[in-house]
Point group: D2
Chain length 369, copies 4
C-alpha cells in the first residue's frame, strides 16, 4: 500500500475491503510521504516491510522473491500517476483509488503506460461493487427497461457546506492535489461511472454549470450537468458538497420505454423496479427477483444488509480474480467485472469536460478521450 497512513480515511477502507474475502495480505507499505509517519503507520499496522519512499518500495519489492503481487494506491489524486508508474513498469499489479489522476494528459499517459505493461489495473469506483448495482446493470442489459431514455444520477453531500480545514478537506479542495475538479472530481466521477456502468450508455456531450459557493473555495463544490448519450438518451448529473442533510447521497434513476429503476447508495440492498403498467417492486439483495449477477457478489442472506465495505471488497476480490488469472495465464473467470483504465480515463475526461463547458457558459462539449 502507498499512502493511507495515520489520519488518512480511504486507506483504512481499502485495508478492510482487501481482508473481507481473504484474498490479500498486507505485507509492505510506504504509508506516508513523511518518513516518520510512514514508519509509525507501518508499526501501527504490524507491517514489517515499511518503506519511506514509494519508488524505493517498488524497486525493492520487485527484486524480492516474495515481493508483492499488487499495490494499493491511496494517496491524494496528484500522486496516483507517479506512484502507479513505478509499480506497473515493474509488472506489479495496481489497485488505485479514483479518480485516475489529477489531470487529463496525465491520465492518458498513465493509461497508455499501464496498457503497455500488461498489468491488472483496478480503479476503486467501489459503488459498482454493490450487488444491487450489478442487478440493475443486468436488468438493463437484459432489456427489462426497454430502450433507455432518461438517466438521473446525483451525489449530494454536505460536509463542505462551511469552510473547513481538516486534512481531508484540505487536499480535496486544493487544485494542485485534487485536480481541477472539486465536487466533480471527488464525487461527480463516481456518479458518472455509476450511470455508465448500469446503463452501458456512452456519453456524447455534456453541458455543465459549476459553482464554488463557499467563499475562498478554489474548486467547484456544486455541479449541475446535462448529458446526452449516443443513441438519443438524455440525462442529468448533480453533485454537491454543500447540500445540508446529505451524507453520501448517491442516487441513480434510469427510465426506459418499458420500465424504470431506482437505487440509492445509502440504502444499497434495495432496488426499485417498475415494469411500466405494473406495481413498483422492491427487489432486495438476494431476495426474489435478484439474480445471479447480484448473487455472485453477495455474502449474506437477504434482509441482512451488506454495506459500503462489502461493495468495496467486491472490487478487490474481482481484481484478485484477474490478478490470479494473469499470474497463472488462465482466462478471467466469467462475470468478473471491475473498473479499470477505461473508466479512469472517462472519469478524468468527465471532470475536464465539465470544467471546459462551465468555463464556456455551459456550452455542449464532448469527452476529450
Amino acid at each position: 500500500m502507498v499512502g493511507g497512513g495515520r489520519d488518512a480515511f480511504i486507506g483504512a477502507v481499502h485495508r478492510i475491503a482487501a481482508r473481507i474475502d481473504d484474498q490479500y495480505e498486507l505485507v509492505a507499505g510506504a504509508f506516508s510521504a513523511d518518513p516518520e509517519k510512514a514508519l509509525a503507520s507501518a508499526a501501527d499496522l504490524g507491517v514489517a516491510r515499511a518503506y519511506t519512499s514509494f519508488a524505493d518500495m517498488a524497486a525493492r519489492e520487485a527484486r524480492r522473491k516474495d515481493g508483492i503481487d499488487a499495490v494499493a494506491i491511496v494517496t491524494p489524486n496528484h500522486m496516483h500517476a507517479p506512484v502507479a508508474m513505478q509499480f506497473l513498469r515493474r509488472g506489479i499489479h495496481v489497485i488505485c483509488d479514483k479518480p485516475l489522476t489529477a489531470t487529463l494528459p496525465e491520465a492518458k499517459r498513465l493509461a497508455k503506460a499501464a496498457e503497455a505493461s500488461g498489468v491488472v489495473f483496478a480503479l476503486t469506483h467501489n459503488y459498482t461493487g454493490y450487488p444491487m448495482v450489478r442487478q440493475a446493470k443486468a436488468m438493463v442489459a437484459a432489456g427489462e427497461l426497454g430502450e433507455i431514455r432518461v438517466v438521473h444520477v446525483e451525489y449530494l453531500q454536505d460536509w463542505l457546506t462551511e469552510a473547513v480545514t481538516n486534512k481531508q478537506a484540505e487536499w480535496r479542495t486544493d487544485p494542485a492535489r485534487s485536480g481541477v475538479g472539486g465536487s466533480t472530481g471527488d464525487i461527480g466521477t463516481h456518479a458518472f461511472n455509476l450511470a455508465n456502468f448500469v446503463t452501458g450508455l456512452s456519453l456524447e456531450a455534456l453541458a455543465a454549470d459549476l459553482s464554488a459557493f463557499v467563499p475562498g473555495r478554489r474548486v467547484d463544490d456544486n455541479g449541475h450537468v446535462l448529458m446526452r448519450f449516443r443513441g438519443g438518451a438524455k440525462g442529468t448529473l448533480m453533485c454537491s458538497q454543500v447540500a445540508p442533510g446529505n451524507e453520501n447521497g448517491l442516487r441513480l434513476r434510469v427510465y426506459g420505454s418499458k420500465g424504470g429503476l431506482e437505487w440509492a447508495q445509502e440504502d444499497p440492498n434495495y432496488l426499485w423496479f417498475t415494469p411500466f403498467g405494473q406495481p413498483k417492486r422492491l427487489i432486495t439483495r438476494g431476495g426474489a427477483g435478484s439474480g445471479p449477477e447480484a448473487g455472485r457478489v453477495s455474502r449474506v442472506p437477504p434482509g441482512h444488509p451488506e454495506g459500503y465495505l462489502e461493495g468495496f471488497a467486491t472490487i478487490y476480490t474481482e481484481a484478485a480474480r484477474a490478478i490470479r488469472a494473469a499470474k497463472s495465464g488462465t482466462p478471467l473467470p466469467e462475470g468478473t467485472t471491475f473498473p479499470g483504465l477505461r473508466e479512469g480515463l472517462e472519469g478524468v475526461a468527465f471532470v475536464d469536460a465539465c470544467a471546459r463547458s462551465s468555463a464556456r457558459n455551459g456550452a455542449w462539449v464532448g469527452l476529450n478521450l
Copy 2:
C-alpha cells in the same frame, strides 16, 4: 364553471375543492363546448343555470341580480384566455386552471386586461396550498436555511410512456390546445411555480434540453433545465411524463448556507429539515416545528393526512377571502396567499423560455416578461 363536463378530470377536482371549506356554491355552468354534453353535465351535477356557451353565460350571469361572483375555468389551455376575458370584463372574479394560457402573447394580453379590470384572479397552482409547502416558504423567509444556494425541483410522471389516445392525453399533447409545452407546460410549470413560491427567488436565466421520446409526439414529454437565479443561486428542474414508476412525483429540495429542506408531493404531510450540523428532522403537518403558516391552512390534527384535494381547497379558500375582501372593500386578511396573474405569466414565460433555449441547443435565455 366553464369546462369540466363529463369525462373531464380537473373539473371534478375543482368542484370538490370549492366545497371542502364551504366557501362556494356551484350555481351555473357552461360545462362543455358540445351543447348536448354541456346540458347533460349540468343535469348530472344538479346545476340549474346551464349554458351552452361561455360567452352567453358571462353575459347573462352579469345581468342577474343573483349572478355568480366568480367563475372557475377548467377548459383546455387554449381556451383559458378567451373564457377569462368574457368574465373579467364584466367584473366577475376568475379562478383559472394553470397554465394561464397556451401562448405567451396571449398571457400578456390576459394579464393586462385582468389587472385593468380589478377582479380577483386566482390560478390553481394548487401545490402551493399544501400546508408543508407553506411551512417551507416560511422557514426560507425566516432565514432558517441561510442564503439559498441550490434548488432542485422535479415533476416526474409515467402516464405518457407509451402513445395513448384518451381525452386527457389527446389535448395535453396537442400544441394547438395545450400550447408549445408538453411536459413543460403541464407539469414543469407546477415545478417552476413551487420552486419560486418556496424560495422567493427570481429566475435570471435557464438552459433547457427538451425531448419528445415517444414517436409521433408533437410536444415535449421530458425536459431537463438548468437554472440561475438572481443573487447567485443555481438550480435544476426536471419534468417527465415518460418516467416509469412515477405517478405525480413532484419533489423539491432547497439547500442553503445554514440548512436544507426536502418535500415531496406524494407524501405531502412531511417536511424534512436539516439545520447544518444537526440531525435531520421530520416536521409533520401540525406537529412540533410546524408553524402558523401551515396551521392556518390545515383542517385536521397531525398524523391524519391531508391530501391533494385539501391543498387545492386552500387555493379556493384563499381566493374566497380575496373575493370577499374585494366585494366588501375590506383589506385582504393577513397571510392570504394564492397564485395569480404574476405566477401565471411567469409560468407561460417559463414554457416559452424552455422552448427557445432548447431550440437554440440549450443556450441560456431569460424569461421574456
Copy 3:
C-alpha cells in the same frame, strides 16, 4: 348535527366529510349542551335551525315537512345512546361517531332499538373508508393471501404522554364520559375494527394487559392484547397514547399462507403486498394492481394523495347511498359498505373484554355479545 360546537374536534371533521361528495346539507343542529354555545356555534356555521336540546331537535325536526333525513352524533361517548334513541325512534337515520356507546349494556340496548326502528345506522369507523383498506379487504377475500395466519394491528399516539387538561383530553380520560376504555376505547376500537374489516375474521378470545402509565390517569393509556380468531389465526393488538413519536400510527399487517399485506394510516395511499416468493409490491391508490373496490371510493388519480377527510367522506357517502335506498325503497347499490351496529357492538364488547381480561391478569376471555 348533535355536538360539534366551538372547541370540538370531530364535529368539524364530520362536516367537511359530509360536504366532500355533495351528498348532505347541514340544516339543523344542537351543537352543545350549553345553550349559549349551541346557538353561537350555529351562528358560526350559518345554520338556521339551531336547537339548545337534542331531544327538542329530534321532536321538532320529525314534525317538519322539510325535516332532516339524518342526524350526525358527535358528542362524547356517553351521550351517543341517549341522543341516538331520540332520533331513531322518530325514523331519522343516524350517523354516529365511535365507539357506539360508553358501556356494553347500553350498546346492546341501542343496537336492539336501532334494529327495531329500521333506520340506517352508520358508525364512523372512518379508516375503513380508505381506498387501500378496501383494496386490502378485497385481496384477502379473493384469497390472494391464502389462509390468514397472523394479524398485527396497532394504533400508537403520543398526545397523552404527559398529563394534559384540554377539552379533548379531559373527556377522553374520564370514564364517566368515555367509558371504561381509555386508549382501548378511543383508538383500540379503531384498530380492532380495521383488523376485522380487512380480514373478515371473527374473534374467539383475547388476553389483555392494560396500563395507565401517567400518574392520576383513570383509564388505560396503553394496551397490549393477544388475539385468537375462529379458524386458528392469531394476532396482536397494541394501542397507546403514550408512545412519543407517534401521531396517529394506525398500522395493519396481515400474513397468510400465500402472501402478506401491510398498510399504515399515515401513508394511506400505499398498500404493500408480497406474494410469497415474489418481490414486495407497492400498490398505490388507483395505480396498477389497485382494483374496483378501491376505485369506487377514490376521487383523484394515483399519485395525488387522498387523506383522512376523503376516507371519512366515503363513510358518509356510503351511508347516503343506504339512506337514499331506504327512502326510495330501492336495493342498496352493489358494493356499498359502511360500519354500523354490528361493528359498534363488537367495538364496545372489545373494550369490555379487554377490561375484563386485564382485571383477571390477562386471562383469555371472549366478546360478551
Copy 4:
C-alpha cells in the same frame, strides 16, 4: 472453528466477521461431524490444522505451543455445550453462536463450568454490535427517554412460510437439534436480547402464545409474547418465520416518559429519536447526534452504510479485547461490551418460559434462572 463446513451458513459469516478488524487468524478447525467433509472444508479454506473431531482438536490444540487462543463454535444448537466444554476446560476462550444451548439445564451447567474456568465466553448476539444499537442503549442509559414504559420488539421472517427441507431449515425445525424453540429460539432470542441490551430492563414475567402454522412442523414458527419488566414497564415480542414479505425484520421500539426510539435491523444505520414535543430526528451512524458509543464501533463515515457483517465483526473485536486483556492480565478496555453467559442463559430461559407459558394457555411465568 468447530462447525461451519461446506453448506453451512453461519460459519462463513463468523469467518468474515473475525477478519474484518484483523484481530483473528483462522488456523485450525473441525468443520464438520462428517470427517470427509471436515477435511474438504479445511482444504477449501486453506486451514492446515484440520481435525475430524472437536474433542481431538481441543486436546491437541491445548498441547501446542502455538495452539489456538479461542474457538468459534458454529454447530447446530444441541452441540454448543459439548463442544464448548471441551475447550473451556482447557482454558481456550470461546466464541459461540446463539442460543447458548438447546435446553435450559444444559445452559445452566455450561454457564457454571464456563464461569469456573475463567475463560472469555462471547455469545454472538450480533445485533448488539450495530453502532446505532449501541447509540440507543447509551441514550436510554443517559435518561434521554425518561422512565421506560413500553418496549415493542419483533423479528419477522418468511422463509418457513411453506414446508422446506434444506439443511438450514431441517435442523432449525428439529427439536432435538435446535431445542424446544423454533422461531422463539432462532430469532425470538435475538429480539429478547436486543430489547434487554438497549433498555437495560429485567424481565419479571411473560405470557406467550406460540403456534406452528405449517402442517407437520414440530417447533413453533410464530410467537406472540406479552412482557412485564421489573419496575413497571410493559412490552410485546413477536417472532415469526411465516410472515411473507419479511426477510430479517428485527425491529425495536422503546417509549419512555420523555421520548421514543425506533430502530430496524434492515436499515441499521438509522436511529429515529423523538424527544416528546419535538420533531422526530433521524440520527445516522456517525452523523450529528451520534455519540462515542456508536463511534467506537464504527469503521466508515456517515452515509456509507455499515451492515450485518460489520456488526458481527464488532462482537468478535470486543471479544478480542477481552481475550487480550485476559492473556495479559490487564483490565478490560473501557466500553468493551459483548454478550456472554448471562445473555446466553437468559435467552435459553426465555425460550423455556415461552414454551411453559404457551403450554399453560398463556399464563404468566418468570424466567427460570
